[in-house]
Symmetry: C2
Subunit: 205 residues, 2 copies
DNA sequence: GATAAAACTGTACCGGCGGTACTGTACTCG
DNA sequence: CGAGTACAGTACCGCCGGTACAGTTTTATC
């Protein structure tokens, strides 16, 4: 029972790395079991087919993601009660976290799945959509709180601004990879911070 | 000679659609030749292996991309001589173009390749990097021109701002797909426009 | 209208992979 | 001690990428 869960975890870890590096379709079960040092039977004991592996991968990924962001923005909240400054601190912490990945961000599973739509069923797409909506909900809440205190300097939809955070993280990951500049992601998050600052900071009048 | 190029083009078109929808590794040569109505021998006459298909795909993609952007920002330039307003118009045209894709943006080949690094050789990665750098160069030029007239309202690196454009397009495509909201991409580009506006517009003092 | 090159088709084969099916077995928890 | 858990072993199927190579039709060119 305990050992089973451990093997499953190891399989998922190996699979996640492989999928982010080569895509889901190009990741063979054989290479996974070779690295995990188990047999094919062992694999199919844990996952009835490749689709179930995919489902388990995203569920695990989204859960870890949520825990990570919860923690990060809770810390940011503790450092400053003002919602705007708390968000700005949170974005700085986020950028620092990204910058601390020496090999660069390994990639986002949601993005991989979106770029291989036809390989996955509606079920899995619903999960990735849920992940994106969770980010949106998290930041819309904060942005509304901010805009009540600091009226925005431009006529923008707060839902769009919330989604911009996801957009820049996803885009930043790709740009980091494309340019082979691991620091790019953090730098783009800092630029997002600059936008939030300009958007909500009271103008000198 | 003429007919050969035509078949090659048809193959590339079919392959591009398939790769963007399923990833490179999951795209089989068999399905491509089935849709193109040729035989396997025909395929290998045009491309000596799958890797050469990949190379031809990006080269074609990047060339088309360049032509498209050249045209778009040339039109923007003709509508307004001021570099800031010209860029803002250009971004609006870009957003409109994105919004005109009824099924949403089909996806960016550079992103697909980045998310399947291990499948491609250094050669191909150099091509995608070149594509990203071309976008950067294009916009850095304009941004420098702008900042000479309108000093930026925040201390930002213009290279980062230039890369932000690519970041938001790449991220916007993913968010459009993840949320299944085709309009998302255009909306995020418009938000980028809002940032450029806030960054360079003279503050009322 | 002959000729050569271009643009394929046809056939046959290899090894790897996803997936299925079923049997056997070591470990472990109650 | 017995029942489930967590695998290992073996055998097999069909699809796919890739190779090899011979044959055939189409097309441009002189």
């Amino acid at each position: 029972m305990r050992k089973g869960a451990e093997t499953r975890e190891r399989l998922l870890s190996i699979a996640e790395t492989a999928v982010l590096a080569k895509g889901f379709g190009a990741t063979s079960i054989e290479e996974l079991i070779a690295e995990a040092e188990i047999t094919k039977s062992g694999f199919f004991y844990h996952f009835k087919d490749k689709t179930e592996l995919a489902r388990a991968l995203i569920v695990r990924y989204l859960e870890a993601d949520e825990v990570l962001l919860d923690d990060l923005f809770k810390r940011a909240r503790e450092l400053n009660v003002d919602p705007l400054h708390s968000l700005l601190i949170g974005l700085k912490l986020l950028a620092e976290m990204m910058a601390d990945l020496p090999e660069g961000h390994p990639g986002c599973l949601v993005a991989t799945i979106c770029y291989q739509e036809r390989l996955f069923d509606k079920d899995i797409h619903e999960l990735t959509r849920g992940g994106a909506l969770a980010w949106r909900a998290r930041f819309v809440r904060v942005l509304e709180e901010i805009s009540e205190i600091y009226p925005p300097n431009d006529d923008v939809d707060l839902v769009e601004v919330a989604d911009l955070i996801s957009t820049i993280v996803e885009g930043g990951i790709i740009m980091s990879k494309a340019l082979r500049e691991p620091e790019k992601l953090a730098a783009q998050v800092i630029l997002l911070r600059s936008y939030i600052k300009l958007l909500f900071s009271p103008r000198p009048s």
